[in-house]
Symmetry: C2
Subunit: 890 residues, 2 copies
Amino acid sequence: MPKRIFCFGAGTAEGGEDIRDLLGGKGAGLAEMSKLGLPVPPGFTITSDVCDAYLDNGRELPEGLKTEVQAAMGEIERIVGSGFGDAENPLMVSVRSGARVSMPGMMDTILNLGLNDETAAGLAKRTGDDRFAFDSYRRFIQMYGDVVLGVGHHHFEDLLERHKDAHGLTLDTELGAANWRDMVAAYKKLVAARADAAFPEFPLDQLWGAIGAVFGSWTNARAQTFRKLNDIPESWGTAVTVQAMVYGNMGDDCATGVAFTRDPSTGVKEVYGEYLINAQGEDVVAGLRTPRFLTKAARERGGSDEAAMEEAMPSAFTELCDAVDRLESHFCDMQDVEFTVQKGKFYLLQTRAGKRTAGAAVRIATDMASENLITRAAAVQRIEPDSLDQMLHPGLDPEAPRTPIAHGLPASPGAVSGIVVLDSFLAEERAAHGESVILVRAETSPDDIHGMHAARGILTTRGGMTSHAAVVARGMGWPCVAGAKEIRIDLGNRCFTTRSEKVAEGDTITLDGATGDVFEGEVPTIEPDLSESFLLLLSWADEFRRMRVFANADTAADARTARILGAEGIGLCRTEHMFLSAKRIIAVRAMVLAADNASRNAALAEILPMQRDDFVELFRVMAGLPVTIRLLDPPLHEFLPRRTEDLREIANATGEDFQALQDRAVRLRESNPMLGHRGCRLGITFPEIYEMQARAVFEAAVQVGREAGNSPRPEIMVPLVSAGREFLAVKQRIDAVGTAVARKSGVDFDYRVGTMIELPRAALRAGDIARHASFFSFGTNDLTQTTFGISRDDASIFLDSYLRQGVLMANPFVHLDRSGVGELISLACERGRAARPDLLLGICGEHGGDPRSIHFCERQGLDYISCSPYRVPIARLAAAHAALEAGSRH
Amino acid sequence: MPKRIFCFGAGTAEGGEDIRDLLGGKGAGLAEMSKLGLPVPPGFTITSDVCDAYLDNGRELPEGLKTEVQAAMGEIERIVGSGFGDAENPLMVSVRSGARVSMPGMMDTILNLGLNDETAAGLAKRTGDDRFAFDSYRRFIQMYGDVVLGVGHHHFEDLLERHKDAHGLTLDTELGAANWRDMVAAYKKLVAARADAAFPEFPLDQLWGAIGAVFGSWTNARAQTFRKLNDIPESWGTAVTVQAMVYGNMGDDCATGVAFTRDPSTGVKEVYGEYLINAQGEDVVAGLRTPRFLTKAARERGGSDEAAMEEAMPSAFTELCDAVDRLESHFCDMQDVEFTVQKGKFYLLQTRAGKRTAGAAVRIATDMASENLITRAAAVQRIEPDSLDQMLHPGLDPEAPRTPIAHGLPASPGAVSGIVVLDSFLAEERAAHGESVILVRAETSPDDIHGMHAARGILTTRGGMTSHAAVVARGMGWPCVAGAKEIRIDLGNRCFTTRSEKVAEGDTITLDGATGDVFEGEVPTIEPDLSESFLLLLSWADEFRRMRVFANADTAADARTARILGAEGIGLCRTEHMFLSAKRIIAVRAMVLAADNASRNAALAEILPMQRDDFVELFRVMAGLPVTIRLLDPPLHEFLPRRTEDLREIANATGEDFQALQDRAVRLRESNPMLGHRGCRLGITFPEIYEMQARAVFEAAVQVGREAGNSPRPEIMVPLVSAGREFLAVKQRIDAVGTAVARKSGVDFDYRVGTMIELPRAALRAGDIARHASFFSFGTNDLTQTTFGISRDDASIFLDSYLRQGVLMANPFVHLDRSGVGELISLACERGRAARPDLLLGICGEHGGDPRSIHFCERQGLDYISCSPYRVPIARLAAAHAALEAGSRH
């Protein structure tokens, strides 16, 4: 039988980081710390395999485990020198969950286990602190009652509130030993009345119940939501760690806190964190009291006058600093540790890779590589490409006027405007209607995950930089302002008040997560300033990646942004966007509604110089880099006016009969425009449209080629092709225009004609098509639509059901469907290359900016990926990851 | 160098039927007849390879050919005993086209070639018939001028009309030798004035020009149209046959005619045809004079008193009868021959497989098999499956009142109503607007092909059973009444008149092609009575085919028709059609617009008994045969009312707020409903709908199982599946309902759950799906739509362009696209069978009734094909063809 229990403590440990899958992050971290000789209270970890067994076996712990647990408890007793259930010198333990990746706050924890009437009395006697003993005891009953016996948290809170009211007390700190003793009695009565089972007095029974409940909490609703959001498999399970308790709340020589080896917001290398004197660990995390700074420097920067740990507990602080240094060197990563100081003695309770903002992550990775702690490849691989998104978020325009209404902690960077929403359900609902939502809460809890996910910014009135709201918001990449104390939430009137203002739910506010400021209304934002380490990291990524990264850019402005962000070309320029500008829409509409070729040609002649100017600008910006121009794609009726007066304007402009125009407009309507008269079908039926576009491209190339040293590299892309002959028919006309322009201008220019592969038939007939096409660009949006037979515009209703019910594992419009759409792409690559070995292959659907899909593209050997300008850095990094992974597999 | 010229005549021939591809049908037939010792004027055929060379080589005949032609001409001179260009005893020849399949009237012919001023005089002298000689000469100048020199036919007609007017003559027969001599002079002047080149006096020059022109006529517009309509490759080319002239117009001991070995309308075995005394062959075919019957019996049946050939020329008639008997035995098929009697001597000029109505074809094939002339397999293979369509066309309801307005020859069977249209262009235009058009013409010519194709019925005022109109209409399967003499067409006033009526263009009339009657207005039709030979042939087909043939039938009435026509089950019962009946649409709409599950369930409870009754009826009709029921497929909004008052009715019926209903109706709208919230997506999001349908199916099965000996075999089909998990989710709910119904009723019933494969992803993931599905039915309509990314509803505009420009070779909604959609089907079959060897495979898209597509299905090894009831016989026959072909390939 595989080993199920792994002990740690007293400078040794069984197992460690190498079996993290079995021990969970917490268990593995404790084992490593113990082996490093760091001060860790002794304990043991029950593996996640036992979790599987427990869940599979109708929530029964496996046979024989009890004996093993008892033996392991004996080991703790031996090290600590106290006895579990011993009335004289009782041992208390914590029982905690620990999955192989961190799921903060998602599963259950029980502290102070081992207390009963007898041991509580013993604890009081031994510590000489009745208040501490009974406070601990009532905390235990409450946690145990809630987690194991199913008596909701709020019942206990109610009782406590009533007790306070009866005694005229407000704060927990005002309650004395007698109060807590009363509460213990009241809690036990509550449990007896409400619980399914009696409260177990016998410590081993307590332990047994707690282990099962913590394993079981793997499957609670919020943990499931968290896993779905974070793509964590249900099958992993959690380990359970049982560990001797140490107390940060036994007096003013006690403390508890969290520390990061580097600043998780900026990445700067300095011990960073918070602590509370005379408190238990959950007091810091839950954000109920606003904690103090660790270092004097931080305290001064923060303008606080409450002593930093460095000042209040210099010796423990030194131990902390030594410990975190050793941990970072050991793990080669920034660590987030929990510590407790009990009666002046320093203990580490947890270490893990610290969560950090994307900016901090990049800074830390590049710094560590510069410090030779990790390789450049490791630095590149350490950054989740999607996380760069938040660094690319806009900040507030410094020039823009603004009215601050509140200030809090800068808990997660970025600026965002949105409507105030006061609960998570409404946040989800309003966000579903496409609104940008700012969730405003006193504090958040794991129950708010769905609302936080739906929101675009988080504002809390309580809690610190490591509060739930702050941690989760950073993870999600949302701006967050935490602990804005002057805000009072009034749920009854659905509003909040600041010192001077009243803000109703639904009103717009703006958060600046980088400063902690809250502003009235919408404050304009500007593009982010890219940090040095960001640029450094991406330059390293560029060294590792194989695929080129292009941008989807329709205008010269987009193209400029794309180049700043590192695009090496334009992979998709949608010419239809150029058709929609106010000054040319009338000509476009006249073209669409033309009664015959003559009037269509007249309208096209008007459009030609405008299109040419667009391309001239684009070619100038791209200075010789490839520019892939897709010919007109959408059905013509998309350009038609919705309003009668606009149609009348066209009638006036063209001198055409209004009724005739209206009739033609009606005839252009389609029942399924996505599958209608669009793409190269327009090129076949109205060849003069594509001819005009090709002419505009070529004439622009001639013009820019004359004025610049870098000759433009137009690549003309034909959309919606389904057959080789179809592509050829369009290409022949383009080539004819190319020849004509070259002859007339006397300038020889280089261009290629290729196609989108965005229909299943195009993928299947890729061999035929590649005989004539120079390049393929996978249009995975349409390819996904047609392969699944799903219109993205209509899909939201049922796709949500599909994802919720697990019928689909991911939204195929977000992550490329490898097993369906992906097979068509593979086929197309294979057949296209067989027909034309130098065929250029790329992707320009939105999947081109999705890291998971980019990995797939690397495996297919695509030559380039193209995505929206703001995703170019993400794509560069993801392409590097994919190349490194592919390399490591060779 | 391959042989380019093949001679025939005098009881021998070079080549024959075995090189029909080279000699064309006409040349091969002449060679065979000559070898059989039948009386054939001598001649030679230049191969279709020379046609290719001619067309490829800028319309120049190849080097050396002239010498070969001269040698072959010498052979003719030797046999006939006259000289080409010999003024004393001139030889005249015909120059005719002949492709490997018959293209009647599509290409050019030149007769009387060899005449010039000198030889015409010689001919006059030798025959002692000046009128004949100069009539022949002017005919030659006209044909040559038109075909070779490009002087339009009408110029010659104009001259002739003016001559007649000037001399007070009306009919050609009234013109004497002097008139024709004048015309010769006038025609030569006309040619000299209008032609690009001079009229060649030298006979060998005439011949050379004629050969080139006839080869060139392969590419004229009407021939191209004909080939497109009949799927004849452009590359085949035509052969050219040069043959000594014989004349049916040298006096009353001369005649010309056509004969069929069996009646081409009914298939009855008797010599059938027409002849004209003292006429040239084209006079019969062109329908300018109404010809006489061949046999006395036919004359009597036709109520004519003009002597039949049997009576007027008994000896030539006996020769004809002997000849056609030998030809039919030789070719093992019904023959259509052209003959000429010159001065009492009988000649055969052509033989070919005779065109026939589908009914005649079936009768002839079964008769010939019964006569042991051919095998049953050959009989089955000889019938083009699509041709059965016309036998399944409705006839006139004998009970229906009717007003006859005219009568003509019953030239092509079937009854049809439609609007009168007087020219082919308008016919095409009106038909394009979806109208049923009856093309009414004095006579038709090859220039009318496009209009005849667009029409649904043909009515002519001149011409006989073998006129152009009659032949083409039979080929197309359109009802035709020919030679309705009492009708006068008035093109100026766009109407026609009968003895008593005036019928304007656009008025509706009805034709009965089986009787030759024309009726005013629309006369109701009834289903066809199936002939004995039809049933016999299909029973033979059933012996040869491997695939089962099911019908797509939504109602018990459809199912009854399907069974009569031989369906072995229902392959597709669309349950949505059941939702649309007036009495249940309100409940359906209430269900669609339900605000919540409770009201949806209430509406479904109302629908359940009605659905159950539908299935009860269907199961009764199908008496134990498989019935494949597709669960609800279309988007829900298709059931919504278009009119506000209908929505109000639902508000009243459900007590719901009108505005709320309207809002929900608006929210149901989709931008691309084909790819929207439909099919099993409804089953995932609103499982209660499919559960109701499954319950209705199972409860009906229980009920019919109790009352009948044949237990129903429901096969529940899930539409629009794209993934295995998706199918499984739906199937599990169906199975749960099945279990519940079985438990409650105490009846064990058999059922299967399978799926449509109609999305590319379903085909790709067929392995996953087959693990749970009992059968696949290829929904090739949707599969074609999604594979091509084409909405059939929107495609007509651009698909026409695609077909016209040759970008697509066939409409993929008519003939399955083998190389795209077909590959997905192959993949799905392979992967599905690998996952489940006993997987049942079928097709239920409209391709299931298309013979070409059925061949593909056979090659994929599908188990069944399902099509609309009226196509079941076609599918049975096509499946037999496919199986025979597959067998012959093994």
